[in-house]
């Protein structure tokens, strides 16, 4: 605990103009924490070099172990108020969230000093309940496990080895090379992006097998992955089971060709001379492009990439994709183990998702026709020529080939002619009208379906199951739901790359492999230093469990968005600090309040809330509302609102939290029992396009809120007094209206909290 605090109040930036300093100083010197605050001062410009020097001198002279800076937002001047490892700092936001955004209330004027006092006392209390965390630092394994020996996996293994890391490469097939090894060529991977080229996979295999840092296991499978980042034990079966010590994993198991039955509406299976792109590739690689019906070289080949016949009624069904997130599991009955049967996630939409590759493949294979079949012509019929970015140049080079005819077309039917030819009927073409085109051979696109659409792959020995929990959201791809953070999944220590993550070209997959290797190396290093990875990168705090009071209710193990907690047969949680992202969702979940962080805990926030002065008479003193604010997005939004000159009710008090997921019901219950008239939770959007940086925090909070409200109802307190609002960081202009809505619709309507004054 911080036991000797210096409290400094800045009077710059309008604070001093709006507030008298003496009563604020007195609130500390005569307050209940006066004994631990030997230094209490004001300064006209606290961020000035002189003032900072004065604080440093006070720390040295008085042995201060905590400094409460009552000035601007902690988002500002963050670099100024840092006083070394042994000194904790708490920022009290008097400028943005007190003075700048203060609005006088007609009936209860002059509340600003009271508000400032509340915030200062809250800050002092918060710091007095904070310890400097001392993480246990495990000695970690450094080996990187690469799953999959295709283009992505091979590249990942080499990239990691180049960094000096030991690598184990596990490939299911008997040979390395994956899909790349089955290809005749790939589309261009580098400047000038004009010609299909050799994949280079043979060279890559040679480099990998010759590299002493890389241990290659073929005909091998990952049976299970136990443990946590930096401390994994992988059981691999390669003609016998072996256990490997692993630090982190690059998942590069790639893709499998889509189920061909989805292509039936385009004639596949019904018409002999309709083949898939994968089959056409194999034919070319084997050396002869022929019609299946008669073994003759075709004089014309049509490549169709418009798949609307196959996807009708499925594409655009965003409602399906955005199925509701997994419901909060009911506590299972004693001894009942949860078994997750792995639902297959392949569907016709994978054809649509593969559009970039199917377009590029059609161009490439049209090139094969020109290269291998002399005078033969190739047709490419597309809906949208999906070659975004630099590959436009490759498209252009195909357009320049007189033997390749390209047209937009919506395919309406594919039928067989009497002579074995295939007739393709199409509308909306660029050829002037609806057309019927006859080709000797028709090639249909092959969908890229991630391996993880069919099986959990990771075989994690985690309490929450063997695979990735978000796969439904991504139709089986192991992707991130964050635009900004492509490698962030809900399983710390496993980083996906290549076509298991998204359909992508080989050029992109190679780059992706490098990115995933970096994240894997970084994760091992962070585990080894006892610090968190994204998004609280570098955080040394971690949840501590007081198991004596644990009732094995399993809420924490079920609700952790990252599956950090396993449990024993009784249901006692078993923490895995290196899986943990430090969001505090477990702390928020625990009804017995046995989970805490040294610098963020139940007692601390509860005590802060108790520092808020609540008048017994709501008419004379006004109501009070506690707002628990997500510090990642809602808190900056409040700052920005203040910067834009917005103001709001003087009866609210903001309490920043790590994530709404960390909000424990007891804070709300305590606030209400203290006479607070309402509680607002202000946090990120949830649902399929969630913005919560901890994935589930705001959503879990909203469910807990419902329970809290019900409990309050039983005590005769209106459920409406507890509300959650979703606010994204740029909705600063909406914040005042949200607060206003709560003040009128709840507080004015229901009047004082019935517990007030008791």
């Amino acid at each position: 605990m911080a036991e000797k605090l210096g409290v400094y109040i800045c009077s710059g930036c309008d604070i001093g103009k709006a507030l008298e300093m003496a009563p604020l100083l007195e609130a500390v010197t005569k307050g209940k924490n006066a004994g631990i605050c030997p230094v209490v001062k004001q300064n006209p410009v606290l961020c000035s070099p002189d003032a900072v020097a004065e604080i440093e001198a006070d720390i040295a002279a008085n042995g201060l172990d905590g400094v409460v800076v009552c000035a601007c937002s902690p988002r500002v001047k963050w670099d100024i108020f840092q006083f070394g490892q042994g000194v904790q700092v708490e920022r009290v936001n008097l400028r943005e969230q007190c003075v700048w955004s203060f609005r006088e209330d007609d009936k209860v004027p002059g509340l600003l000093p009271l508000m400032a006092k509340d915030y200062i006392k809250m800050g002092v209390m918060k710091l007095s309940k904070s310890r400097i965390p001392a993480p246990e630092v495990p000695e970690t394994f450094k080996t990187i496990l690469v799953l999959g020996g295709g283009m992505t996996g091979l590249t990942a293994a080499l990239e990691a080895a180049k960094l000096g890391k030991d690598v184990v490469l596990v490939e299911r097939a008997a040979t390395l090379g994956g899909k790349a090894a089955t290809m005749y060529k790939t589309f261009p991977m580098s400047h000038p992006y004009l010609k299909a080229e050799d994949t280079g996979v043979d060279q890559l295999i040679a480099e990998v097998t010759a590299n002493a840092k890389i241990k290659v296991l073929t005909s091998a499978e990952l049976v299970s992955l136990e443990g946590a980042p930096g401390l994994y034990s992988a059981t691999v079966n390669a003609g016998g089971e072996q256990k490997l010590d692993i630090g982190a994993v690059v998942l590069a198991t790639g893709w499998v060709p889509g189920d061909k039955s989805f292509l039936a509406p385009m004639g596949y299976g019904r018409i002999k001379n309709v083949v898939t792109a994968a089959e056409f590739e194999a034919m070319t690689k084997a050396g002869s492009i022929v019609r299946p019906s008669d073994g003759k070289a075709p004089a014309s080949v049509a490549f169709l990439t418009d798949v609307s016949l196959c996807t009708q009624g499925t594409v655009g069904g965003t409602a399906e994709v955005c199925a509701p997130v997994d419901p909060l599991p009911e506590t299972p009955a004693e001894g009942e183990a949860e078994v997750n049967p792995y639902a297959d996630k392949e569907n016709a939409k994978h054809l649509a998702y593969s559009s970039e590759l199917t377009s590029l493949v059609a161009l490439k294979q049209a090139g094969y026709v020109r290269e291998k079949l002399g005078e033969a012509v190739a047709f490419v019929l597309y809906d949208h020529m999906m070659v975004p970015g630099i590959n436009e140049r490759y498209y252009k080079s195909a357009q320049d080939d007189a033997g390749i005819m390209l047209s937009k077309a919506t395919i309406t039917a594919v039928t067989e002619d009497a002579d074995g030819g295939v007739i393709v009927a199409a509308k909306d073409t660029l050829l002037g009208a609806d057309i019927e085109l006859k080709a000797d051979l028709v090639v249909l696109p092959t969908a890229i379906v991630p391996v993880t659409a069919h099986e959990p792959t990771m075989n994690l020995q985690y309490r929450q199951g063997p695979g990735f929990p978000d796969l439904e959201l991504f139709d089986g791809f192991v992707d991130s739901n964050y635009v900004c953070f492509p490698y962030e999944t809900r399983r710390t220590g496993v980083y996906a790359a290549g076509c298991v993550r998204q359909p992508m070209t080989m050029a992109t997959a190679k780059e992706d492999a490098a990115g995933a290797v970096l994240k894997a190396v970084q994760c091992i290093g962070s585990a080894n230093r006892g610090v968190a990875v994204h998004p609280r990168s570098g955080d040394v705090s971690f949840p501590v469990f007081n198991f004596q009071r644990c009732t094995q209710c399993k809420r924490c193990t079920e609700e952790c968005p990252f599956g950090a907690l396993d449990d024993d047969e009784k249901g006692t949680p078993k923490p895995n600090p290196t899986r943990c992202r430090r969001c505090g969702t477990c702390m928020g979940a625990c009804p017995e309040r046995v989970i805490s962080f040294d610098n963020y805990n139940i007692d601390q926030i509860g005590s802060m809330i108790k520092e808020v002065y609540v008048p017994d008479d709501m008419v004379a003193g006004g109501p009070r509302v506690i707002v628990l604010v997500c510090e990642n997005d809602a808190y900056p939004a409040l700052d920005m609102a203040a910067f834009r000159g917005k103001s709001w009710s003087p009866f609210v008090r903001f309490v920043p939290v790590r994530c709404l997921g960390s909000v424990n019901a007891i804070w709300v219950a305590d606030a209400i029992s203290k006479g607070v008239d309402g509680v607002i939770m202000l946090g990120c959007k949830y649902g399929p396009d969630y913005q919560c940086h901890f994935v589930k925090g705001s959503e879990l909070c909203s469910r807990r809120k419902t329970n809290i409200a019900e409990s309050l109802g039983r005590l005769g307190v209106e459920a409406e007094r507890v509300e959650q609002y979703e606010v994204s960081i740029d909705e600063y202009d909406k914040v005042p209206a949200l607060i206003e809505r709560f003040m009128t619709e709840v507080i004015t309507k229901f009047g004082p909290n019935p517990f007030k004054g008791y």
Partner: protein
Amino acid sequence: MSNNSILVVGGGFAGITAALEAAEIGHEVYIVETNPYLGGRVAQLNQYFPKLCPPSCGLEIQFQRIKNNPKVKFFTMSEVVSVTGTPGAFDVKIKERPRFVNANCTMCGECEKAATSTVASEFEFGLVDRKVAYSTHLFAFPQRYVVDAAACAPGELDKLKDACPYGAIDTADAEKTFDLQVGSIIWATGWKPYDMAKLDNLGGGKLANVVSNMQFERLAAPNGPTGGKIERPSDGKAPKRIAFVQCAGSRDENHLNYCSYICCMASLKHVTYIREKLPEAQVVIYYIDLRTPGRYDNFMQKVAGDDKLTLVKGKVAKIVECECKSPILTVEDAVTGIKGEERFDMVVLATGMQPSCAGSKLPVELPVDDDGFIIGGADKGVFAAGCAKLPLDVMKTAQTGTGAALKAIQNVVGR
């Protein structure tokens, strides 16, 4: 003796990502950014596709990571002048332009109140004027004002100095040069919107109600020049019919010889802005192909379901304006072959992205293609990332930034 530090040129999303990913492995990194703020192009966007989430959300996390990591140092208003030395031991000369505002700045805003001269805002693409003492945007990081001394009226700079209660205006500030010693360099200088004025036939930069897609982002942004109201620049009226012209400059050998990757998705995203703010507005998108790769297909299908949106595969040959300043488009439908004229209240040119360095000489020897994209450099210890290398979306930019960080580290480890 090799140097483990990494220089990242460009503080946009690629550069920030590369810097942080390397720093969180333990390398010292320096970010050199020419703007007064970090965040680059994404800082100017209202929302990202396909989630329609605000870029400031991810940037806030990145800035927190920077604040919490002493290994990351950054210089704004700075540029690389020259690079000498070899991989593992580069000496880089940096030029820092004067900001005229020192670390005492508290963002109190008194200087801005005192300033009277104005110039067209670069951040807002000229849609509005800014004062000579200014903060570019609400989420600007670092949070420190900038004074545009060159645009000050005589005596104005001293007036600003007097207005500042904290002694933060440094009237004697001057250009500085300094050297950095690093082992690897990441080149992440990003992109600029293709100059509309070059699209003469489309009235770019000439017709009042023909705006670029980046200007449209600012019009929709709550912290933009209109507070998020979509209105015609000529008269401030809400447009009832809006057209999007895709491939404005892109896929055209006379302008940009590639597809700019993001514009189709951006225009579909803009349709969602319009639908939220102007529920009754009619929208037409004229396109060659709608390029919505991968799972973006879901977004495309969702937006295409808008019953007031028409998607036309067709070419816009010419735009002129009528006397009420409404743009009149000469268009040809590629499927029906029908040519005609269509009048709209406002037109958005989906202008493409051009490498920021296009047309200027790089301070380091790097191979570039005819369009200005960097096509090599790894053998020289310089690694390109983001849109300096290829036209990309934000997600793929972050991916290349992460990959480039790995390559840069490989280059300094084990030398």
